[in-house]
Structures are given as C-alpha cells and as structure tokens.
C-alpha cells in the first residue's frame, strides 16, 4: 500500500492506505481523529465534511490519493477549547441535540463565513443544504450562523 503524508490541523501524519480509500476512513481509522463522522458514504449528508486547502469537501467520497500536499482541517482543528466564534454561537444557540452531524455542520458553517462574512438566508440555505440533521436543529443552525457572522464582523472591525 502506498504511503501518504496527510497534513491535518497543522500536523503531519504518515499513513499507509489504498489509493481509493476515502479520506474519511484515513482520518478516522488511520490517523485516529474521530470527530469527523461517517453518515452515508456517498456525499449526501455532510457528516464527514472537512476543509481541504480551506474549502469544504465530503471526505467520505474523496480518495486519500487525491489529497496530494493540500492541508486538511477537521473539527478538531477549529479549536479545542470551543473558542471559535462558530463554536461559541453553537453554544449560545444550544444547537446540538444528538450531536452526530454537528462536526459537519460546523465545518460547513466555518467555510461559509470564511468566504462570505455576511451571508443572507439564501446564502445559508445554499451553503448548508448538503448537511442533514435528523434531530432537526436547522432553525438553530441558521440563528447560530447569523450570530457568528455578527461576532466575526466585530472582530474584524467591520
């Protein structure tokens, strides 16, 4: 099996993996970071969302061999102490119920706010449409994204 070096959350992890192994399983089973979740295996639910070179991807359908040298960020890389404005907003709005999909929801939300600091409802719809939550936390996710956008705008002096 080929050897890949994955740069995850600023740290390098050498992994021996089948070229076609989805990045999800490399992250969970070979690297051992289990915050990224398996939900459907076919890019339908978004539970496996991570950032590749800053952009959100569905890691369940992204082969490890296609990562190349691009840096990966997982939920564990957002902040360990819940200090990221999106995490703070998730606490303030008490978003999670079962919590299983929330890593993916947060990764999609962080990516949205990075490229679009003032998202409209339609922007939120478009960015979050790929993330399923069976507990139905969508109304709170929407509120939390708006709250985080407000915090980020203040931080950036906008």
């Amino acid at each position: 099996m080929p050897l890949y070096t994955l740069a995850i959350n600023g740290k390098k992890y050498p992994v021996n993996a089948d070229a076609q192994m989805p990045l999800l399983w490399a992250i969970r089973e070979l690297v051992g970071l289990t915050g990224t979740k398996y939900g459907c295996g076919m890019a339908q639910c978004g539970a496996c969302t991570v950032h590749l070179a800053g952009a959100p991807i569905r890691s369940c359908s992204f082969p490890v061999s296609a990562v190349l040298n691009q840096p990966i960020t997982t939920i564990e890389g957002i902040s360990k102490d819940n200090s990221h404005p999106v995490q703070k907003a998730w606490i303030a709005e008490q978003v999670p119920q079962c919590g299983y999909c929330q890593s993916g929801q947060i990764m999609s939300a962080v990516a949205l706010l990075k490229t679009n600091p003032h998202p409209t409802d339609e922007d939120i719809d478009a960015a979050m449409q790929g993330n399923i939550c069976r507990c139905g936390t969508y109304p709170r996710i929407r509120k939390a994204i708006k709250m985080a956008a407000g915090t980020l705008a203040k931080t950036n002096g906008q």
């Binding site: 915050g35 979740k37 398996y38 459907c40 639910c45 998730w90 008490q94 999670p96 919590g99 139905g136």
Partner: protein, 722 residues
Amino acid sequence: MKNSSELSRRKFIQQVSLSGIALTLGAYFPASGKTEVEIVNAQLVDKASTELLSWISIDTSGKVTIRNHRSEMGQGTFQAIPQMIAEELEVNLDQVTILFAPANPKKFGPQPQEGSFSIRGWYKQLLQVGASAREMLIGVAAKQWAVDPSDCYAQNGQVIHRSSGKKLGYGLLVEEASTLPPPQNVPLKSRKDYKIIGKSLPRQDIPLKINGTAQFGLDKKVPGMLYAVVERSPRFRGKVIRFDDSKTKAVAGVKNVFMVQRAVFGNLTEGVAVVANSLWAAMQGRKLLTVEWDDSGFDHLDSDQLASQMRANLGKPGPSQKFEAAWQTSAKKIDAIYETPYQSHSCMEPLNCIAHVQDNRIDIWGPIQEANWIQADLSDRMGIPKENVTVNMTFLGGGFGRKGFTDYPHEAALISKTMKAPVQVVWTREDDMRTGPFRTGAFYACKGGVDSTGQILAFQMITAAQWIGQEWSPKPYPDPEPPSYNNGNTEGMLHPYLKAIPHYSFGGVGTRAPIPVLWWRSVYASTNGFAAESFIDELAHLAGQDPLAFRRNHLPDKRYQDIVDQLEMISGWKSRGKNAGWGIAITECFSGICGHIVQVSRKADGKLKIDKVIALIDCGWYVNPDIIRAQVEGSIIMGLGAAIKHATTFKDGKAVEQNFNTYEMPRMTDTPEIEVHIMENDEKAGGVGEPGLPPFAPALCNAIFDLTGKRIRTLPFKLEDV
C-alpha cells in the same frame, strides 16, 4: 467536564482511593416505595465491583459526580437528570461531572429509553435521591457543630448553620455521612423554591459535541478490537444457502468469514460476517463476497400489494350494528380512508456495536437505548448470568426507537464469540436503511357524522397495520391476525373527545407481512394522529364550523380547553388573513399534549410554502424549557420529513430506499419558521421527546385544505404537487 464514557470504573476507583472516600447513593425504588440508599466507601470499593455505580458520588475534595443512567440520544437526559438531582442536592450543575451509568437495574431501576419516559416516569424518585443525600450531609454538619439540623441548610455544595453562619463543604462531611442511615421520604422542594429546575441551563453535553470529543458508538475502541461488516439477507427472511469467500479471504487483513444470525423478535435472520483487523479491510472483503440466499417460504411483497392487503383488511371487522345505526341517524355524515407509509429511522449514526464475549462474561459498548433489555436478552440467548453482562452506553447519534432494540448487540455478541476477541460491528448506511425494522405503514377507515347542531354524533376509526406486538407472536408468518373490534387503537387521539361523542368505535386488523416493524418516534401516534386529527377537521367543515372552535366544543376538560384557548391566542387565530391557509391539530401521546398551527401560502411562482409552525406543548411539570423547545422543533422537522419528504417502499420483498439519495431528508431549505410555547400548569410531568411529532402532518394537511379546498389523505405527498 470529562467525556463520561471514557472514565472507566478502574479510573473511578483510583479517584475514589486517592481521595479516601466517596459517598455513593443508589436509589432504585422497588414496588414497596422504599428508598434503597447504599453507601460505599473506599474499603468497599474493590469488593463492590459494579455495585459502585449509582447516581451521586462526592469525593473528599467536594467534587460531585452525578450519573445519568439513561441513554443520551439528543433528547437531553444528560442534562435533565443531573439538573433534577443537583436541585435537591444543592450543588451548581456547572461544578458537577456527569457520567453515563451502565445497565444495572438493581441500582437504577429500569433504564429503557422509550415512551418519553425518562423524566415523567422517574422525576419524583430522582428528586428524592438528591434530597436524601443533602439531608445526610446536613445531619453530619449539625452533629459536628452540636446544633439542631433544622437550623442548618445546604447551598452551593456546603452546609451552612443559619444562626452562626458557620460553613462546611460537602467534601469534609462525606466520610461521616457515609456511615449514617439514609433518611426516607425527605420532603421535596416546592416549585417556587427551585433554583435550577425550570431554567434553560445550557446543556452539559454541547461543549463535547462541537469540537469532536463526544464519543459515539462508532468512535469507541477497545484494546485488541477487530472489525466486522455483515452481508445480511436483502429479503427479510432469506437464509444462507452457501457463500463464496475465496476472494474475500484474499484481502489483506481479513481474518474470518462466517454465517451469523441476528434475532429480530421471534425470527432469526441470517447474514455472512466478514471480520478483519481494520474496518476498511472488512468493507473491501465484503465487496468481493457472493452469497446465495434461500428466499422460499415467505412473500416477496411490493408496496402496492401491501397497500391492497391493508385496504382489504380495513373491511374485515364486522360492522358494529349499534355504531352503524347511530351513524345512519346523523344529520350529515362522511367517510374517508387515510394512508401512511413505512418509514426508516435513519439515525445519523448508523447502527454499530462492540461486543466482547469471554468464557462467562459479555461486555457491550455502543449507542444503546435499551441497556436492561440487552443485558437480559444476551444473558438468556448466550447462557451467561445477567450480572456478568455489562452494557455500556456511549452517546447515541440519534435513536428514535431503532436503537431501542436487541438485534444489533446480539449479532455482535455472536461474532465476538466466534472470534474470541472484542469485535465492533459496523452497519453501512445502506445496511441501516434497508434492513429495518421499520415503522409500519398504517391505513385508516374513518366514518363520522354530526347532528343538526354541529356536534359529532358518531366517530369510527378502523386501523390496518402491522402491529409491533405481532412480531412476538409464536404464530408463524403468514397466519392472518383475526379482526378485533373496539380494541382501542386510539393512541395519539385526544381522549376527552370521547366524552363529547355519543357513539364511537375503534378497532383494527393486524396485517401480516415478513417485513420487520418496530417503534419509531411517537410510535402509533405518528400515524393515528394524522387520521384522527385530519378527520376531526373534515367533521368541522362538514358541520360548517371553525376548526379551532369545533375542537373546543368537543374537548370538555379544562386542561384541553386551556390548550385550545392558548393556541388561539398565541397564533392570532381570530385575526388571520384570507390569503394564507391555517391548519390546527392537537394530539396526545406518552402523557404529553401538543398542538400545532401550521400556516401555508401560495407564492408568486405558484408553489405552496409552509410559512410558519406555531407549537404549544403541555408536558406538565418540566425541567429545562429550552430542551423542550428543541425537542418540539426537532419533532416538527422529523414529522415534516415523514409527511412530505420520504417513505420506505418495497419491491420484490426488498426495501427500495437505501441511502439519502432516494430517502430524501428535510434539509435547511425545507425548514419553516418554528415558534414553540410551553403550557404552565400544575400537572404531573409528561413526555417531551415524542408528543411534538404527530400533530404536524394533520395540521399541515388541514392548512392546505383551508387554503386550497383540497383534502390530502395519503402520506407522503409532494408540496409541489398541491
């Protein structure tokens, strides 16, 4: 706070030993109503084994640990149970460590996570646990100060002497407290004195669920663990004739391939397990496996055949002459058939379970709703004493009833037994969605009539469905279930209606099929409620009355009158405009009553849109209003999914929908504005997790009727088709 499931008993013992002593109160309340309180100190710990694990522990530094003995699948027991105990114990919840307790009916009483029961079933006993511990600690402090205990009170983890202002922390009192007999029947605080109950305190599990540290079943690892995936029969009762594992065994890492069973009620289903030293190897090996199935001896049903059977069954009960006679005398009468589909639970975390079977012991770890049942079931099936079966709960990535079953741990235990090693069995999304058990589809034949004053004179609802109870029946498929009449298939419907209706009749026919069925969030109320509250609406229109006022006229009890009044007020029902359609529905299940008002309108592009849902829940005494609001919001979205997004259908005896590309879930853009209100009253605690679901579909269809005059009687339907 630590991630509870990681703090093993070993570590706990260490913690106890370091601090010298811990007070542990276990309080399972047997039928006599006596409080069994056990004190365990450091000397007893090593002998005490799992007996240690009960609700409260305090170490000599004053650190408080409270155990949540129920599973946490999103509904909030991880917060609500400690919140109740902490109230009476007089400690701040943010200083408490919360741990999951394993299955132990001796310590915790029944632990099933079903029927919205965690609070309504046990709140008085759990409050008593906190109160007993508090009184023991107060007793010790009073003795040390040589004062009357009644001159002392507890606050913030300390006992305070009222007259002198002297204080002692719980940590300094716990050692002696552990030698005292626990007081019985301590008076509980009155609601007005609550400091933390009734408040929206932030959930203690949320910080773990936003940075990847919360441990779900799929995240759990134990040393030496192998991984298994199982190729299960695509038809529900197929048996393995033979399989070819030559290519599978050539995959590096695959260790064994063998036939494995799984008990689904009385039926032993079959599959072929692929076990490997990594999940990836097991999954790759499975792809190369071929299995030949014996699919004889049972029907290979299509959904439309199943529907025909259910429609035919609706006609099977002999007509009740008395009811028919009354119905015939109605000034105006109608009848209608309602149809609801099969549904998959589709928790976001697919099923999984770790089992480690050794000579005379079984250890289970996983996302589990039914800890006690699994303990008893495995003990029975595997011939191992119940006390040697340990069932450990992780966080659950959703449950909705599916994880309240014994099949997936049973299969894992059989695989572990063969492998003589701990094994994690992982279900793929497809395995999870196509294997079932499913919520049954249910069909309803309704008849009703109103008298000349517009009051309901006669109301009949006949159900045809696969009863969950039939799954236990020793009768082999396909014995027909005899018709039963006036048998009370009324779960979900408001019972006070029956006081106002002179002639009513309920009955049902169990439909037999090889499709396994199981409880699904709100169980029969999820379909009964649709038929009952749609038909009440039809009767309101038949009587020429306002649907909200019509309900008020037929709900004689004050509690229900208050709900209707409140719904009218919070929604502005009387002042609603003519360009929108408004629908009301109120249902009751698991001692929780919930009413929805759904508002729909047609947009400029001609499409129908759900603008807003206003919900009112009456769950009586409650703990955490924000968790209640979250549960009702989530129930509405799950109900919306079952009404307008998804269904499980069958073709040639197999489930058609296998992943989210065909089983379409509600997403962000499907989510209407939701407003949740909670009734304030002095009623006993009722259910929260499920009662918010059933009213959605009928309220939506009633709103669509209000706007368009079109009556929808079959779920699911597409909004764009209306």
